[in-house]
């Protein structure tokens, strides 16, 4: 029983990070119709920026802001740079650019910072708090949950309640019609990329202290899991990303705890396959499609 509570609660924290990263994939999918295979490399590049800022200033919080800013900047640069030249009906060329970008970024980071794992301190203790005899969340996990929830609420408000969000949604679902209504669609695509990579950078920043440390490949597995989350939830669905993120985070934690860590990716794969067989467009996919 104690173990179950512990596994559930730490699964929740991991699920929140997964959901956040999956949400970043959903955002870029909705605004640009690409699965950004470079998302992990771009996010971890932004985390290196945060690492450098924290090292120089001594402040975790400045580093956090730096990760967001670096993520947004990187998103804009990639979208305005290489990806502008492959816009079109061919998803393959975008994918190839992304793979090239992964190699360039990860090799660049290894050359600049070295390939080793650099320890990154969490701003709060990582030992679980005890409720009676039962270990539950650590203060850092509580922090992660709060930040993830706050960012998701902020994004929901931005997309749902602001004129910018209205334009982002309009441009995502009917670019041609939106143009006729005065929406600057290319600008919305850029903003979508900025929001997406900033969100991914934050997720990676939250993850790194709980893993081996900072390394050019530190977010690779996060990407794989988050991609599964996004597909299970429905690439078009922010709510799906949240729900599937929590489900997979908890599944991962339970399998790791009761069986072995090696079995966790397998369990995720089984879930992914099952969902794809039953609902190929994801659990929360909407019925309508994007139009011209």
């Amino acid at each position: 029983m104690d173990r179950l509570v512990f596994l559930l609660s730490s699964g929740l924290a991991r699920g929140a990070v997964l959901a956040l990263f999956a949400l970043s994939l959903v955002i870029v999918w909705r605004s640009a119709r690409v699965v950004n295979f470079a998302q992990a490399a771009m996010a971890i590049t932004a985390v290196y920026a945060a690492f450098a800022i924290t090292a120089a200033s001594g402040s975790y919080w400045l580093g956090l802001l730096g990760a967001l800013a670096a993520g947004a900047l990187l998103g804009a640069l990639v979208e305005r740079g290489p990806l502008r030249f492959v816009r079109g009906d061919d998803p393959l060329s975008g994918m190839i650019i992304a793979i090239g970008l992964v190699m360039v970024l990860q090799a660049g980071l290894a050359m600049a910072f070295g390939p080793e794992h650099r320890p990154m301190r969490a701003p709060f203790p990582e030992r679980p708090l005890m409720i009676g005899e039962i270990p539950v969340l650590s203060p850092y996990e509580v922090f992660v949950l709060i930040v993830a929830a706050a960012v998701m609420c902020a994004l929901a408000l931005l997309f749902g309640k602001t004129p910018l969000g209205l334009k982002l949604r309009a441009a995502a679902f009917a670019p041609e019609t939106s143009r006729l209504l005065g929406v600057r669609v290319p600008r919305m695509v850029t903003i979508g990329w900025m929001l997406s990579v900033a969100t991914a950078a934050l997720a990676a920043l939250l993850l790194v202290p709980t893993e081996l440390g900072l390394n050019p490949h530190a977010a690779d597995l996060l990407f794989v899991d988050a991609f599964a989350v996004a597909v299970v939830g429905g690439l078009d669905s922010p709510v799906g990303a949240l729900a599937a993120g929590l489900i997979i985070g908890i599944l991962d934690s339970l399998v790791t705890g009761y069986a072995t860590a090696a079995a966790a990716p397998l369990a995720v794969l089984v879930l992914l396959t099952g969902v794809l067989l039953v609902r190929p467009r994801g659990l929360f996919a909407a019925a309508d499609r994007r139009t011209g």
Binding site: P163, L164, L166, K167, R169, A170, F173, A174, E176, T177, S178, R179, L180, L181, G182, V183, R184, V185, A286, D288, T291
Partner: protein
């Protein structure tokens, strides 16, 4: 009464010598006509005549290889995005609504480029078209005639001075077409120029000051409804089809 910034002699929309081709296929050939201030012009012709393509050329969605489009005496914006700021609104031949957004959100999209809260303007246009009760419903969930009205509301909310309507009566029943004709007449009376593509003959005859007839990408007739109705070339190409069958 505000003083017009351009003299009355300058038409609101001037299409001159317009030529459009897709690949080797000529879709528009030397199309010329004007729409004056507060005037309602109907653009009619058989399916595939090129009517929607005229709209697309006005909106900067297709590049003509010959001729050009002037709005209020100035060349039409090269980018569709600048149409609303040039005072132009257009409805699409289909519906073109954002199905997952609410009715109110659909109508807010064209206003979202300028600062401030535009909810009051949006609600006013919804009220005018009898859509107030549906404001918070997703557009995709409404019956077809209501969705058609949402599309019209979205075009009117920016208070355009040139309104392009592509088959606004398509799929509507008699009562809805009458209401639409009423709205178009009101809009025109307020000084807005209207260019409307429509197959519904009674609607066209009722709202249009002038009719331009297009066939195979060429203007084959142009005149008042009375003049066009009697034109033998038009009867052969278009109206005659209905009369003969």
């Amino acid at each position: 009464m505000t003083i017009p910034s351009t003299p009355d002699a300058v038409p609101r929309l001037e299409i001159s010598g317009l030529g459009v081709a897709f690949g080797g296929l000529t879709v528009l050939d030397d199309v010329s006509f004007t729409v004056g201030r507060g005037e309602t012009v109907a653009l009619i012709g058989p399916n595939g005549a090129g009517k929607t393509t005229v709209f697309n050329a006005v909106c900067g969605l297709v590049r003509p290889h010959a001729g050009g489009v002037r709005i209020n005496g100035r060349p039409a914006p090269a980018s569709a995005t600048r149409l609303p700021s040039a005072g132009v609104s257009r409805t699409l031949q289909g519906l073109g609504l954002f199905e997952r957004m609410t009715v109110l959100e659909n109508v807010l999209v064209p206003l979202s480029g300028t600062r401030g809260d535009h909810t009051a303007e949006a609600r006013a246009i919804l009220a005018r078209l009898g859509l107030t009760a549906l404001a918070e419903r997703p557009a995709g969930a409404l019956p077809y005639p209501e969705r058609k009205r949402v599309a019209l509301a979205r075009a009117l909310v920016t208070a355009p001075d040139l309104l392009l309507l592509d088959e606004p009566a398509g799929g509507l029943g008699a009562a809805d077409i009458d209401a639409l004709a009423g709205t178009v007449a009101e809009v025109a009376a307020s000084g807005c120029s209207v260019l409307v593509v429509e197959h519904h003959v009674d609607f066209v005859m009722g709202v249009a000051d002038r009719i331009v007839v297009l066939d195979f990408g060429r203007v084959i007739a142009c005149g008042t409804p009375g003049e066009v109705r009697g034109d033998p070339a038009v009867e052969a190409a278009y109206l005659g089809l209905g009369a003969a069958s």
